[in-house]
């Protein structure tokens, strides 16, 4: 997208117009950024400062300390939940991306054997849902309770992501496929050596969507993990921060509810992965990857 220049026919912007636009931009940006700023600052403040202020710290100047993070990482429950979340996100995203890219590629070649059936059973997922209770009964019945697979498998295929990938694959010029086939390349080779390299941007976006979904998911964990020792970070966040409950099994370490600084440190840990990956993928939004896909 090139820089937008004012066209010759367009009026000069009025002072009032520019001022109100400027105010709107600042207010909107602050609505998003200010909460994040004050939460980050509180997590970096000493418990004395937090106590004196009586809540979230807004003004820097009392110095920065990593006490809250140290305290958080000394807590085995938080530490383990962080590892669990990282593991679920890594494994789940890998499974989802591989399965979706393969499936979407298959769906992007119409006329092949079973194509209509496969396409139909994916597209129907947009309007027909199995419902909470039947899935719950089924996952319990096949013995996945207390198993991390109960979190990953039910959300491993997102119809939306498959359709996004498929739409992009279908926009690749047919000539590339034809010439590859004449050169004797099979489907797997075409996917790996031609389609995948051309689709890096859309695959990156889909990877982000899957990773975020796994990282943020807590309901599956809440439903299927009876053993609190297996909890992912999102459940810890809910119990520890939202409900302010003392953590289970935190043997001797935090019998009392956690201090505000530690709570905010947990919030930060839950946010940080998104903040790290986001800039790498965000530039692809602008290339219209998603919009192109939504267009079909």
């Amino acid at each position: 997208m090139s820089a937008v220049k004012r066209a010759a026919w367009e009026e000069r912007p009025t002072v009032a117009g520019r001022a109100s636009k400027g105010v709107a931009v600042v207010v909107i940006a602050l609505l998003v950024l200010f909460p994040l700023y004050t939460i980050a600052l509180t997590s970096l403040s000493s418990s004395d400062t937090v106590h004196r202020v009586g809540g979230l710290v807004v003004w820097p100047g009392d110095g920065i300390t990593f006490d809250a993070y140290e305290q958080m990482f000394r807590n085995p429950v938080v530490l383990r939940s962080l590892a669990v979340s990282l593991g679920i996100t890594a494994v789940g995203t890998a499974v989802s991306v591989v399965v979706s890219v393969l499936g979407a590629y298959s769906l992007s070649r119409p006329g092949s054997f079973g194509h209509r059936t496969i396409l139909f059973s994916v597209l129907l997922m947009f309007v027909v849902f199995p419902g909470l209770i039947p899935v719950y009964l089924w996952v319990s019945a096949i013995g996945l309770r207390d198993n991390y697979l109960a979190i990953i498998l039910p959300m491993a295929v997102s119809a939306f992501n498959v359709v996004v990938l498929r739409a992009f694959f279908m926009s690749i010029p047919q000539e590339l496929f034809d010439s590859a086939r004449i050169d004797g390349a099979g489907e797997f080779r075409v996917l790996w050596q031609i389609v995948a390299p051309l689709s890096k941007a859309v695959i990156a976006v889909v990877t982000l969507f899957y990773a975020v979904a796994y990282w943020n998911n807590w309901f599956n964990a809440f439903l299927y993990l009876d053993d609190t020792g297996k909890w992912p970070l999102a459940l810890v966040l809910r119990t520890y921060v939202v409900e302010s409950a003392p953590l289970p099994q935190a043997a001797g370490l935090s019998e009392a509810p956690p201090t505000l600084a530690v709570k905010m440190a947990i919030v930060m840990i839950a946010i940080v992965p998104a903040l790290i990956i986001y800039p790498f993928v965000q530039k692809h939004f602008k290339k219209g990857v998603i919009i192109g896909a939504v267009k079909g």
Binding site: G103, F113, G114, I133, F188
Partner: protein
């Protein structure tokens, strides 16, 4: 550039030239030719059927006197529509229905226009740098989980939150927005706006970018000011997208989100926060009446499906492209 039309994935099926599938080709010959494609789709099909369509058959428990331990799904007695009749005399269910519909209606008025206004603002920024910075900022909360969003709101608006801290410091009485059932609808709507409105602007931005700039120039030459151009060119230009998203939202009227309400149910009480999905969870899983909960869930699924089909039909009748078109 073409006008921004959003069409259903189903339409796209005809985009690429189909493989030379002669109608008469024997299925065995096609399988011999296409087995790598079938193999590629196999893991996806396994997951889609194994965790979506096969469990969907379990909805049969809605028609059973389901006994999880002694009967199971094959040994329980069929009771027909008993559970559905019970639903409509259950005040909790009716309250969930009313709450869901009022929240949907409220958000149609107060949430729906926000991404459009945001897109208009972003589109009108002449500095590309400022625009992309603001975009990055407003998209961000979309990637936060509901647990996180609620934790953040709690710290800002809750009883011990920042706002009350300031109010009390200024000598005022604090208000705990996070536990007040009367203002709950305002709270959930502002949470939804904070989290999703920014990302929701993407689609309107794309529609705005696709409007032919010559139209603006011609209008300006004819003497139309910026407000008339907004009214006569910009808004008609993005109308198909607005109608489409409005329809999608109407078709989705029974879905107001589960996590957001579930997570705040204990804080504000079920009177204000019980919606369809939380009702299914509490009546089904929490109390163990799986058959009753499944009936509520199935009712929601069927009504939701009818709504989306009807909304799409309405769109066609109004001359807009719907979510999918008849092939």
């Amino acid at each position: 550039m073409t006008a921004p039309t959003i069409q259903s994935p189903a339409d796209a099926a005809g985009d690429a030239p189909p493989r030379a599938a002669k109608p008469g080709t024997h299925w065995r010959a096609r399988l011999r030719r296409d087995w790598p494609l079938v193999l590629m789709a196999a893991p996806m099909m396994l997951l889609v059927w194994g965790f979506w369509w096969i469990p969907a058959l379990g909805n049969v428990v809605a028609f059973q006197d389901y006994k999880p331990y002694t009967g199971g799904i094959f040994g329980s007695r069929l009771v027909g529509f008993t559970h559905f009749q019970m639903l409509f005399s259950d005040p909790d269910f009716l309250r969930a229905l009313v709450n869901t519909l009022s929240i949907t209606a409220f958000q149609l008025v107060f949430y729906f226009p926000v991404p459009i206004m945001l897109a208009l603002l972003l589109h009108s920024l002449t500095s590309a740098k400022l625009r992309s910075m603001l975009q990055s900022v407003v998209y961000l909360p979309y990637f936060f989980s509901w647990v996180l969003v609620i934790a953040i709101f709690q710290q800002m608006l809750g009883g011990a939150g920042l706002l009350n801290q300031l109010l009390r410091a200024g000598g005022f009485e604090g208000v705990d927005w996070m536990t007040d059932p009367d203002t709950f609808i305002l709270l959930v709507t502002s949470q939804a706006i904070w989290k999703d409105a920014g990302f929701g602007a993407i689609i309107f931005l794309a529609a705005l970018a696709a409007i032919d700039p010559n139209l603006y120039e011609a209008a300006a030459v004819d003497g139309a000011g910026r407000w008339r151009r907004l009214w006569h060119i910009t808004l008609p230009g993005i109308r198909p997208v607005i109608v489409l998203l409005l329809i999608l939202r109407l078709g989705d009227a029974l879905n107001v989100g589960f996590e957001q309400f579930f997570l705040q149910r204990s804080a504000v009480g079920s009177q204000a926060s019980e919606v369809f999905d939380t009702f299914v969870y509490y009546s089904g899983i929490r109390t163990g009446d799986f058959d009753y909960g499944a009936a509520a869930g199935l009712f929601k699924g069927v009504v939701g499906l009818v709504l989306i089909l009807a909304a799409n039909k309405a769109a066609h009748m109004m001359g807009e492209r719907g979510v999918y078109s008849k092939s």
